[in-house]
């Protein structure tokens, strides 16, 4: 049995609150159990130097934790004067994942800045960030559509992320909380589209290894979790969901 009595394939309670902060074009507070992340998407009317003059857009993400989001307080990265390797890995992952489902050619020379700020952490902050960031991005792009700045929602599919892992007893489980995560032998983050395609797969043995059958089981669990998350995203984004479903269909053809 898992320490919080969940089934191996059971997500923690997930909630998505939209329009959480008033200034950003898209703003979401997402919770995966006790993990809470504010995901804000901001639109800037220019692109980084390497893209200028090409008529296409960009998405970049930043990730941070409040110092006391965790059990013991972390030193602020602004005080240390540099961003940790872990933070860099996560923000690169979030940006790359979002770019896989947004048609950057259709948003003009604009940058979407996606800020994922963890206010309370209990495992799975990067997967919650991606899942919430997708919603914030759809809302921000929706505002561009509503404002007549772009013609149609340039989103080709849903995008969610979930963690899977192998516990010390050898059991594969879905959506690890911090207590599970800190003991797990294998930790894997899976980023998938609404149609079940992989966008990112990052599995790590923690002073341990994993076999092909274990990999298969973990990927099946991930697939189950993703389906549930897509449902919640659809509710959060309202009418935009239908437009993304149509985009999925046209992709299939």
């Amino acid at each position: 049995m898992r320490n919080d009595h969940r089934e191996v394939n059971q997500l923690r309670e997930v909630t998505i609150e939209t329009d959480y902060v008033k200034h950003p074009e898209g703003s979401v507070l997402i919770s995966f159990g006790d993990t809470k992340v504010i995901c804000n998407a901001s639109v800037e009317d220019r692109v980084p130097p390497f893209l200028r003059g090409q008529g296409k857009g960009w998405i970049t993400a930043e990730y941070a934790m409040l110092p006391r989001a965790t059990e013991s307080r972390n030193i602020r990265e602004s005080s240390k004067g540099k961003v940790s390797g872990r933070t860099m890995e996560i923000q690169r992952l979030i940006g790359r994942a979002l770019r896989a489902v947004v048609d950057l050619d259709s948003i003009g020379e604009r940058t979407l800045w996606v800020d994922c700020d963890v206010i309370q952490a209990d495992g799975g902050t990067r997967t919650a960030s991606i899942t919430g960031a997708f919603v914030a991005v759809v809302l921000a792009l929706g505002k561009l559509v509503d404002g007549g700045k772009i013609k149609k929602l340039p989103v080709t599919d849903f995008l969610t992320a979930i963690s899977v892992g192998v516990l010390p007893d050898g059991k594969e489980v879905l959506d690890l909380c911090y207590e599970e995560d800190s003991k797990a032998h294998v930790d894997m983050n899976v980023v998938m589209t609404g149609q079940g395609e992989f966008v990112e797969l990052q599995g790590t043995g923690e002073e341990a290894t994993f076999s092909m059958p274990q990999l298969q089981t973990m990927l099946s669990l991930a697939q189950e979790g993703v389906e549930d998350l897509v449902k919640m995203q659809k509710e959060a984004i309202g009418n935009w969901a239908e437009i993304i479903e149509k985009a999925q269909d046209s992709e299939k053809k």
Copy 2:
């Protein structure tokens, strides 16, 4: 008339939500109108090098804004690799103010880390931070008392902060929102105890100056605001309020 129809001596709606984040010893979400700040107080069982071996404690504060707490997105200080002068000024102010009402000799060799993270900004973030941080500190110190680590609540008085200013029409007003603040000729932050003593006074003419009578009027407005804020702090901290009131009395004698 003020742009949000308030009287010159009227605060915006102020709310204080305690136990907002689960890990910190004291945690508060405070709102002054649309300004929202998470104030977390963390207890660390050691002091900075300059205090070691003296048997007394320390309080230090850090302040930050989410990048999109404001109308347009700010670059993260961790990305810039350094903390701005404005941030430094504010966090030094918060720490100094709190140290004026906490008896550092009575908390043992412990550091209270106070993190004020602005998630939505609309003027007055530093005064909201101080007012909320005081509540978070009382709750954290209360836990030390409840856990038997210190004998009694080492807080000598309430502590609140409020802004006052002079608008372009020459009118002195209390608790400026961002729209007022950005146009004001004079901007003053007043940090006061529950008994109406000054802890900090910082007044600045913005390419302008102010006279002694204007100063007097602003200080009176501040005093009115402080009384209201202390009432809200008392509600937020529950039973601890009575103990602080007793401390006030003994100070007076």
Copy 3:
């Protein structure tokens, strides 16, 4: 009695030596007792990015201490790779204060860089810096007038700064030396114009508080000190004094 036998309302010996360094447009060595600061004003023929194309100028200040200006040696900020919060606060204060008495619209797209470098410190370095920087700025602007680059001296009033405080015995005093400052319960810096208007007011209780009557007494002392300092500034700037006095008069009308 004060440790150096001064009256409570008595300044230390103040001297202002002009043209101290040969390269800057305005250069002053100012002493407040044993506190000695070189104040250099440099003219640069462009403004920071946020002001370009607006036809107006800017004043910015930097402040530093020689490592051994103080009793024990401080690590150089260039070696530490970052500027301390204290330094930032002071240089922001100096710049803001100067901008209050210079008509930035009348100096064209130019930046005045004001460098205050403390070569010997004995308390009151920031107030000496402001008082000396004003003289350096007038001399630099005077050179622009003499060189035909601007039409008239764009200075609307004198600008001086002085510290006041409350000593442990409860006595309010003017112009604290280091020994007094390090023990004072209250420390306040007052920046005033020649006409007695406030430009900045920064009062701080050091693990202490202060009452309204104490504030009043301190502000009176400050006003006395300011009058003396203005006299010395007038001597230092020679003929330019008369022009500033005329500007004062026209302001009053």
Copy 4:
């Protein structure tokens, strides 16, 4: 057909030259085609603070490229004053991978510093680094055994890494060179033990996604590549190979 006429499951020419630099305890120059990496393993007789007093060791890795290892010159990270996110990701990966096959409890309070310096880059620098670093680490640990500092080679299995990917024509291929890598739709790095267990799996769609069948094909290709690389590692480490094979056997039981 691939641009360099290789089969889809064919490695580039791989060479491993041992004792390349004279000072390090283990030193290797590894080539995967035109990709050349110096892998040096250094032994330090202490561990990082978080491990002190626990009697166990640590492995940490650093990765860098000479500025002109690539087609166009890169700015040195020491000149920029910070390490890029890409570099951090790679060096964290190398360290984590090596720690999975070395028994850190058996090396005493020592740190193995593994430096992977790319002197010429043509794709696959991180996989070449891991494959070469394993050899350097075995040689360094072997010296500790030979010097009587530890009792037996604390290596539980071989460790190799290889890249696989999906080319624009939809073909899955092994060991991508730079030209292939820069166009690939999917890029995956697989770190495996000699017994075919996964240590790390990192697959990324580059503005694209991949399906479960594509994943399966890529993992099979990786497995083929790994077998070849293990053979070359065995040659490079000589007699130590036998000892690792015995460790593999005892792991299986």
Copy 5:
């Protein structure tokens, strides 16, 4: 007798391998005994801001050591976030020296980036760097000539560098290895042209001093070493040697 049995005026074995790395326009691996340095020259089609629009070029050099080039491992300068004083001194020296023999007016608005990366260090890394960098620069400039981008090789003379010193027994010697260098009382680096003119002279007493006669002896030894090094450079650069010799002749007239 010297610890490696050399005569006082004898160089260590020097080898120069050209085209060592494939991407740079000029690439050399140079060895002075066990000191091995990769010298890469890269051509960039623009100049630093201070030279723009003047129609002339620039040469800049960077120097680094692999962390384990030395007996004990050094912390990477990219990890420290700053470049040491020693590194800065050396790279400024290399750049200045090369600029003395290249006619910058004849290379157009181009920058030659010269990277000297020490992969194994045994004393004399800066002199090996300069000697090797000269060859890399000639090869890179030769490519510009061959590609028709500049008309003729803009190199006015050969450029070599060698160390001399005074050992503890008072003996002056040429080309000190690390063991000698670490004990030497005087350490001098001499950069000379093929015609025996000085480009740089840097002599340092290490908690010691040296007399005029000692200086004379050291300079004579340096001159002998330089002649040998020029011969090796001529071999390495092939036909370009003749062109430089002609340039020497025309300089003399």
Copy 6:
């Protein structure tokens, strides 16, 4: 004729004012013409980590310029967040030079911090710094002797520095002012003891070279300058001069 009508072997007016700043153990204001440098020597009762427990001392130097010491204002190194290569070179040079004439074994585990701050620059700041720093160091060490902390003045000889160079007309000159220095073909700094031994020799051709006869002439000029400087140092240090002269004599034997 030189632009300021000096003879080729004539120093600018040199003055040395002792006890310039009150806090440091040794403090000097030295002028070489319009070049003015404050040299402060501070005693710290501990040594850097690499020397701890060896019973010997250390001397380290730092060098900086006020931003407007020069014709046009320089950005402060503390604002840039890093120290330039030029600054590093100079401060390493100053420290090394001083260590050559102080017997570090006789000062106990103490560090002498020497701060050379240029308040006005007109060429030759590093040679003025060394010449002034020597006096500050003698005064600081003298205080240690007077205070009974060390037995005798641990200074083995005088130490001065002077620049020489070759002007565009081919003339060798002593003590270049800025106007000469900026045009010179060769620039050489010579650090010598009172007995005429070399401590440091740094000669640089600025896109030019120099011959052995030119070197000889420059070194003769330097020797003349050094004799004059030693006389001024003797006056500045008073009675300590005699003790150093005795140390010179005992060295000779």
